[in-house]
């Protein structure tokens, strides 16, 4: 096991499987503006100590004062660490003379002996390319540099403004032990920051693109949900979670859905899908199972009115609201808000209103299905029952549920629709699917009263 140098950013360290390769050469590549300098400084301050100071070297391309000025705006920037020499900032730019690359090496020799840094950051490495156009000379320099760094007990972090494609061709790629790429992707009209590990010698890491955000506190990373499903057997729940609608529990035969199950509620606009979700959550709240209403449809004020209309209160501490608009929604980021809130509130029930909003935000349908699979898996393992609301366009008969390929993941599918009875329009509920339970696929009339759902008799559909 190769030792790691953590970033102190828990979810980034999770992606890196612990951090940078200790005593290795680590490269951060990324287009301008992707946050290379910020991330490097975050590594610097997190790992700085009196015994193992950090040496931060700017090069000809980045004036040191600029790095410092903008660095200081971040909350992780620790001025005392700079004062007492735990983080030493130096400018390589002015040591460059007649023999620039040799000067860099001899200056570095001095630093290795005198500063004895535990971490050396070079920001940015590309400047060395611009010193010479002689490939052979550059490779000799790179070799000399690598030899020196390998001999000393120091971890290296080099920055370079390359795209992921360019990074593959750069000479540094071959000598680097670990490479982390930062990128800004354009998805439709939106910008999405993603990071990806391109190389990690002798160690594992979380593959694929992971969303990240830069705040005053530095990097926040949202590792893509990618549960393989081969992570072994887990205890399936043998209890049931009541739906909050007594007649429906009776219909389901066993007193509700299986705990930890995923239930899809499909139906057209205005039919009462959200209300079913509220029944589910508030019944949970009454029976000691806290829940979360994750809504993109209604903000808290709107939801408060709906909830109050049926005799519940939005202030019920056992039903937490996670509401946000779909504007600039990033599902990878959002899901951590959901999972963190679920952890914090010990939620046993989660309602997502609605699935279509998430699918829209996801942009990539294949990735969305993986993501959804992982989310349902996690909920199931944690014994959290998930209710997903899906809007269907058809008011009457139903041709198909546009559920983004999720219905095979769902344990239960409940369809709500309008039916015509003579001259009247009635609401009807059908249980289309229940996994590992017997049910009768009968269409039942229901009404929405001041107390919510009132399930009625079975009806025969006439068309």
């Amino acid at each position: 096991m190769i030792e790691r140098l953590p970033s102190g950013i828990a979810r980034l360290d999770h992606v890196l499987n612990g951090g940078l390769l200790k005593h290795g050469i680590n490269l951060i590549v990324g287009v301008p503006g992707s946050g290379k300098t910020i991330l490097s400084q975050q590594f610097a301050f997190h790992n700085a100590s009196a015994e193992n100071p950090v040496l931060y070297l700017s090069t000809m391309s980045e004036p040191l004062d600029k790095i410092l000025r903008y660095g200081e705006a971040s909350t992780f920037f620790d001025r005392s660490a700079v004062h007492d020499g735990r983080v030493v900032y130096e400018d390589l730019g002015h040591v460059i003379g007649e023999q620039p690359l040799d000067d860099v090496l001899s200056t570095l020799d001095g630093y290795l002996k005198q500063v004895q840094p535990g971490l050396i950051v070079i920001d940015s490495f590309r400047a060395f390319h611009q010193v010479t156009h002689d490939t052979a000379e550059f490779r000799r320099f790179l070799y000399g540099l690598t030899r020196r760094l390998t001999a000393s007990a120091t971890t290296s972090l080099w920055n370079a403004p390359y795209t992921r494609e360019q990074a593959l061709d750069a000479a540094e790629f071959a000598v680097a032990d670990g490479i982390l790429a930062l990128d800004i992707k354009r998805v439709a009209e939106r910008e999405l920051r993603v990071l990806q590990v391109l190389k990690m010698r002798g160690g594992s890491f979380r593959a694929g693109e992971h969303a990240y955000r830069i705040t005053e506190a530095g990097f926040d990373v949202f590792p893509r949900l990618a549960d393989t499903g081969v992570d072994g057997h887990y205890e399936m729940s043998s209890t049931h979670t009541a739906t909050g609608i007594a007649a429906l529990d009776a219909l389901l035969g066993e007193g509700g859905y299986w705990a930890g199950a995923t239930t899809l509620i499909a139906g057209p606009s205005g039919i009462g899908k959200t209300l079913m979700g509220l029944h589910f959550l508030h019944h949970g709240a009454e029976t000691g199972e806290p829940g979360i209403m994750a809504s993109f449809q209604e903000n808290e004020s709107q939801l408060a009115r709906v909830v109050a209309g049926f005799g519940w209160s939005i202030d019920d501490p056992s039903v937490r609201i996670l509401s946000r608009s779909i504007v600039d929604l990033n599902i990878d980021e959002w899901v951590y808000q959901l999972l963190d809130l679920a952890d914090e509130s010990r939620a046993k029930r989660i309602v997502v209103d609605s699935l279509g909003d998430l699918a829209l935000a996801a942009a990539d349908p294949v990735r969305f299905r993986e993501w959804m699979f992982s989310l349902t898996r996690r909920c199931s393992r944690a014994g959290v029952s998930l209710m997903l609301i899906v809007e269907v366009p058809d008011l009457f008969g139903l041709n198909r549920i546009s559920e983004h390929g999720i219905s095979h993941l769902a344990d239960n599918v409940v369809l709500l629709q309008y039916v015509q009875e003579g001259s009247e329009l009635a609401r009807a509920l059908t249980i289309l699917k229940t996994r590992a339970m017997r049910h009768r696929p009968v269409v039942h009339r229901y009404e929405i009263t001041g107390h919510g759902f009132a399930l009625g008799d079975a009806i025969s559909l006439t068309r």
Partner: protein
């Protein structure tokens, strides 16, 4: 710690953190702080961030105190003895007559960069250093110069380092410190090395290990028989 001071060669300035000193002299940091308050004798400088920074001289003073305590004195007596030494203008130095600050370390290392760094760190600490970049030269220097300690890279001249450890350990009385990028502590200790360190070598750890091995004289203190591991 300030880069300018360091680069101007002020290596005898206050550079060691309390953690590093605790490791070097094998006294817990909490004890160091307690002694500082109680006896007001060894008072490290403070960084701007209020971190304690010890000088080499203070590390030597702590070694002196430690040696007195190891010999049976109380902490108070050890500090009184130190105060007498300081008043008499005798700066305490490592006490072992066999070792001493001018002890010779032979480095048998295949990587010239690693050898140069190790040489620099040891010279800075007051050791004489001889460097051999292959096994033949190492043997030659070992017999000519009779070093107090040999630092052997197990992979010098292919894998000749293993044989060197065996030879030098049997020849005595030099202590053998084996190093390698590959975790080979078991084999090295079996062949007679007094300690093993994994490369790359951290300066403080290297210096502390070399000093421990030379001053403690190896087998006298049983706790030193345990191989030191990086």
């Amino acid at each position: 710690m300030n880069l300018e001071n360091i680069l101007t060669g002020e290596t005898d300035g206050a550079v060691y953190s309390i953690g590093a000193v605790a490791r070097m002299v094998d006294i817990p940091a909490s004890t160091l702080r307690a002694w500082e308050e109680r006896y007001a004798l060894i008072s490290p400088a403070r960084s701007e961030g209020s971190q304690r920074l010890y000088s080499r001289a203070q590390v030597e003073q702590l070694r002196f105190v430690k040696a007195q305590i190891d010999a049976g004195a109380s902490a108070a007596d050890a500090h009184r003895l130190l105060a007498q030494e300081v008043h008499a203008g005798r700066p305490p130095v490592a006490t072992d007559p066999a070792g001493g600050p001018r002890a010779l370390v032979l480095i048998a290392e295949r990587d010239p960069y690693a050898a140069e760094l190790a040489e620099h760190f040891l010279r800075t600490e007051g050791y004489d250093v001889a460097v051999a970049l292959d096994a033949t030269h190492a043997r030659q220097l070992f017999h000519q110069r009779a070093p107090n300690l040999v630092l052997v890279d197990l992979l010098v001249s292919g894998n000749a380092g293993f044989r060197l450890v065996d030879e030098f350990a049997s020849a005595g009385p030099a202590q053998v410190l084996a190093v390698s990028a590959v975790d080979s502590g078991e084999e090295a200790i079996r062949l007679g090395a007094a300690a093993f360190l994994r490369k790359p070598l951290e300066a403080l750890r290297l210096v502390a290990t070399v000093r421990d091995l030379i001053n403690a004289g190896g087998p006298v203190r049983t706790s030193r028989r345990q191989p030191a591991r990086a």
